[in-house]
């Protein structure tokens, strides 16, 4: 059975047919442009796209192999890259192992079997990275990557379902262009546009993406103006405002109009909210503080990504630090605290994933927690409350 989707897909499919001719015995099946499940499971057919590439054509090739929108593959890869680097591992493995279109060997020049085994190993490594990595939401370690991935997959399947359903109820009759491919190649330019006229899919009505984007600009711009003119807002307020607009638009769209694209937009805003909510400020780079008096020591050193160095060895009035607590937070990177002799420090350190080195006591892994209690009673006491997302914490004596 021949099903037509959008014009974009038709072009994609005709490319795929051309590739099939080059790369495998598929073109002569006469099955029409859709990729069958059997072809999809045959990993050896996977090629990197030459025509649809941003880096190495991995997403374009994979999208064609799976017969889905390459944008979705790219979103999934980027999300996976953010969560523990699984996406980067997958992309790198595919780059090295999967051949370019029209070629039979990848960069590494492996046999087909070795290539398949290598890709399976890359998948396992990626899954391990993904499962070992939670995301931080108000103290909760939740398998965010899995949730986001599940949602994206659901959307992919939903889109496939609706586009199939939209074309399925119309049986091909001699008058409709859909019956034509029996005698006409799908690339016939006079035929393709009419054949691919988008069938009404799902709820009808004006699409809400444009108006929602306009509202987003107004709200985000307004928030920016508010911050400049009136008062500071937490950085997470921006994705939160965006998510509110998208959420309201989706509720409206549940009854009126079409919500295409809004859910993906909402997922992106959710990820942005989660990342920024865990970070008190948005600050990148290097933060180095060598205070010379207790009054110069801040209560909080917050960093989004980079390196924080707090060297307390220059503080002259150590007794003024007695009873104080210093909070250090870095979502991605390193925190180094240098403690002078004559200061009794208790440390409470946490790393989402990484290494804690507290006075030579080393702990590493994911969700690492380590506490070093003050021992001496005569020296002034100072508490350090340290938290990193991904990275390294070092507390040492000067």
């Amino acid at each position: 059975m021949v099903r037509w989707r959008s014009e974009r897909h038709d072009r994609g499919m005709s490319e795929s047919q051309q590739t099939s001719i080059e790369s495998g015995p598929v073109a002569d099946t006469g099955r029409g442009p859709r990729v069958s499940g059997e072809q999809m499971r045959d990993v050896s057919r996977l090629r990197r796209s030459r025509t649809d590439r941003k880096i190495a054509g991995v997403a374009g090739g994979l999208a064609r192999h799976l017969d889905i929108d390459p944008t979705l593959i790219r979103v999934v890869l980027v999300v996976l890259a953010l969560f523990g680097g699984a996406g980067a591992v997958l992309y790198g493995a595919a780059w090295l192992l999967v051949p370019d279109e029209g070629r039979s060997e990848g960069v590494l020049g492996t046999s087909t079997e070795t290539r398949t085994i290598g890709l399976v190993i890359a998948l396992i490594v990626a899954a391990a990275l993904l499962l070992g990595d939670g995301w931080w939401f108000g103290g909760l370690t939740f398998p965010w990557p899995l949730l986001v991935l599940g949602l994206v997959l659901y959307l992919v399947l939903r889109n496939r379902g609706t586009s199939a359903a939209a074309t399925a109820p119309t049986p091909p009759t001699p008058e409709t262009p859909e019956a034509a491919p029996t005698g006409t190649p799908p690339t016939d330019p006079s035929l393709a546009p009419s054949a691919s006229t988008p069938a009404p899919r799902g709820p009808r009505g004006p699409t809400l993406l444009g108006i929602t984007t306009a509202c987003l600009l107004v709200v985000l711009g307004g928030l920016g103006i508010y911050e400049l003119a009136i008062a500071d807002v937490p950085i997470a307020a921006y994705p939160a405002a965006a998510l509110t607009v998208i959420g309201v638009a989706l509720l409206v769209g549940a009854w009126v109009g079409r919500v295409g694209g809004l859910i993906v937009l909402g997922l992106v805003a959710t990820v942005a909210l989660v990342v920024t909510a865990a970070s008190p400020t948005l600050r990148f780079g290097e933060l180095e503080d060598r205070p010379v008096s207790a009054a110069d020591v801040e209560a909080q050193y917050a960093m989004t990504a980079g390196r924080t160095v707090l060297d307390l060895s220059g503080v002259e009035d150590l007794e003024a630090l007695d009873g104080r607590t210093i909070e250090l937070d870095n979502r991605l990177g390193e925190i180094v605290v240098v403690v002078p002799d004559g200061l009794d420090v208790s440390v409470d350190a946490y790393a989402q994933a990484g290494q804690l080195d507290l006075f030579g006591q080393i702990r590493d892994g994911s969700s690492v927690d380590h506490t070093v209690m003050a021992t001496d009673d005569t020296d002034p006491d100072l508490s350090l409350d340290i938290s990193v997302g991904f990275g390294h914490v070092e507390v040492r004596t000067s």
Partner: protein, 77 residues
């Protein structure tokens, strides 16, 4: 305003997104602490999931009796 049959997916995602923002806002103004916010997300997902199930069931229940021969003919035309 012209409406169409309920889009359950849009409803569920809309509620979930607004719920996440609400959770963040409550946390931000210290109305709930870290422990409470740990409960918030799973409860939110269960809640919106249940709304989705109910909405989908209600939609299916409403749609079924309407399917007279005239309607199916209309669908295929």
């Amino acid at each position: 305003m012209r409406t169409h049959p309920l889009d359950v997916t849009a409803l569920v995602f809309g509620l979930t997104f607004l719920g996440i923002v609400t959770g963040w806002a409550l946390f931000e103004v210290d109305l709930i602490d870290a422990d409470a916010s740990a409960w918030f997300l799973p409860l939110l997902l269960v809640g919106t999931g249940l709304v989705g199930i109910v909405a989908w069931s209600a939609k299916a229940a409403v749609r079924r009796p309407r399917r007279s021969p005239d309607d199916t003919k209309h669908l295929h035309s």
